[in-house]
Amino acid sequence: MSRELRITLIASGALVLTGALLYASLFTLGVLPRLGFAPGYALTAASGDRLTSEDLRGSVVLYTFAPAGGDGEGRDTGAVMQEVRARLAPEDTADVPVRMVSIVLDTDAPPALAAAASRAGADGDVWRFASGPHDALRTVVRDGFGVWFDRQADGSVRYDPVFVVVDGMGIVRAHHRVGLPGADILLRDIRSILREARAATGPARLAYEAAHLFQCYPTR
């Protein structure tokens, strides 16, 4: 074997190995795509206080959307939220807080929101219930989060059961519309954002941005 051929083979092997290592390490990071800005909003919380998107800046936020009376059979977003809350509770997320918001689609009366929050077991700190006037909800929920809902003449609401995960910069990172993901998928999304947020400086940040560049996104 000539010297030139040997060098060619070694160089090719090294390039393939470097590429494979890079691909493997980036794919392992499994970042979530940045889908767009989540809408800015000012809603009324169950406590009667105002809840704005700015209050939650810096936190990873899991949103869901439902009537105050809860979901219909077979699509219980409330139960999934409860499971996420329970399984996150023992984890240390003090550095990057995780919050949950249930946006109520059929009433913005604080007593009704408080009753719904109480039934769901929401504590008002990590998990809050909030709503707003119909026009504001249309702008925030339908136009902003891209979640379809429609109030009926009898006061009931037709809607898409959806979970949306937003990062600390206010960017939508996951939007689960078709079928209801279980708590496992939502926890995977939240933990993925937490890992990325904790690696927000130095060479680790470059690795995460490279993962975005090569679209190393997890599959369901």
């Binding site: 010297r3 030139e4 060098i7 060619t8 070694i10 160089a11 090294a14 390039l15 470097t18 940045r34 767009g36 800005f37 989540a38 809408p39 800015g40 909003y41 000012a42 105002r50 704005t52 998107s53 700015e54 800046r57 702008t139 925030v140 136009d143 902003g144 910069m169 206010g170 960017i171 927000a200 400086t201 130095g202 060479p203 470059l206 941005e209 975005h212 560049l213």
Partner: protein, 192 residues
């Protein structure tokens, strides 16, 4: 041939090391993220986001009667742009979008913006237009009554930078120094 392959091999091994010297931005730099186009009005008529493609666009949402955050941010942006050399500065377009369309007409908001730097432009529109644009950029704003009468507007205070293709590439939190803003702009001029 041998020399070429040797160089390629060396480059592949040095690439990760080169990354260690990369610029650390003061704002949050992200992979380009699409944001919706918009049509608003300035003193000179209709303005679209797409009118500025080819330039780096810095967008801040504020209002002319804002007592603190808006003049402070606009002042820092003006100082940052003045720190750039003229060829760099001409690649930057700062836009102030009003979150108080009832009081800020096209002439008022444009005059207010250009008071900080004559190249800055102020934009406004109907309340619905502003709400749609603000929502597309994740901006919250809400009128809040004042005790003595009248109102102020609470609003998000971050600044968004778009690349030459009109995609979001950088987000600045409120309060960064003009020097830091200028450093980030220089980096984007070279790389965005």
């Amino acid at each position: 041939m041998t020399r070429l392959l040797g160089t390629a091999l060396l480059a592949s091994l040095l690439l990760p090391l080169a990354a260690c010297d990369r610029y650390e931005p003061h704002g949050t730099l992200i992979e380009p993220m699409a944001v919706p186009d918009f049509t608003l009005v300035s003193a000179d008529g209709e303005v679209r986001k797409s009118d500025f493609e080819g330039q780096l666009v810095v967008i801040f949402f504020g209002f002319t009667a804002c007592p603190d955050v808006c003049p402070d941010t606009m002042g820092r942006l003006a100082r940052a742009v003045r720190m750039l050399d003229p060829r760099e500065a001409e690649q930057i377009q700062v836009l102030l979008v009003s979150v108080d369309p009832e009081r800020d007409g096209p002439a008022e908001i444009d005059r207010y913006a250009s008071r900080f730097d004559e190249r800055f432009r102020g934009l406004t529109g109907s309340r619905e237009q502003i709400a749609t644009v603000a929502s597309g950029y994740g901006i919250f704003f809400e009128e809040t009554p004042l005790e003595g009468g009248g109102y102020t507007v609470d609003h998000s205070a971050y600044t968004i930078v778009l690349n030459r293709q009109g995609e979001t590439v950088l987000i600045w939190r409120y309060g960064l120094d003009a020097e830091d803003l200028a450093d980030d702009l220089r980096y984007l001029i070279r790389n965005a």
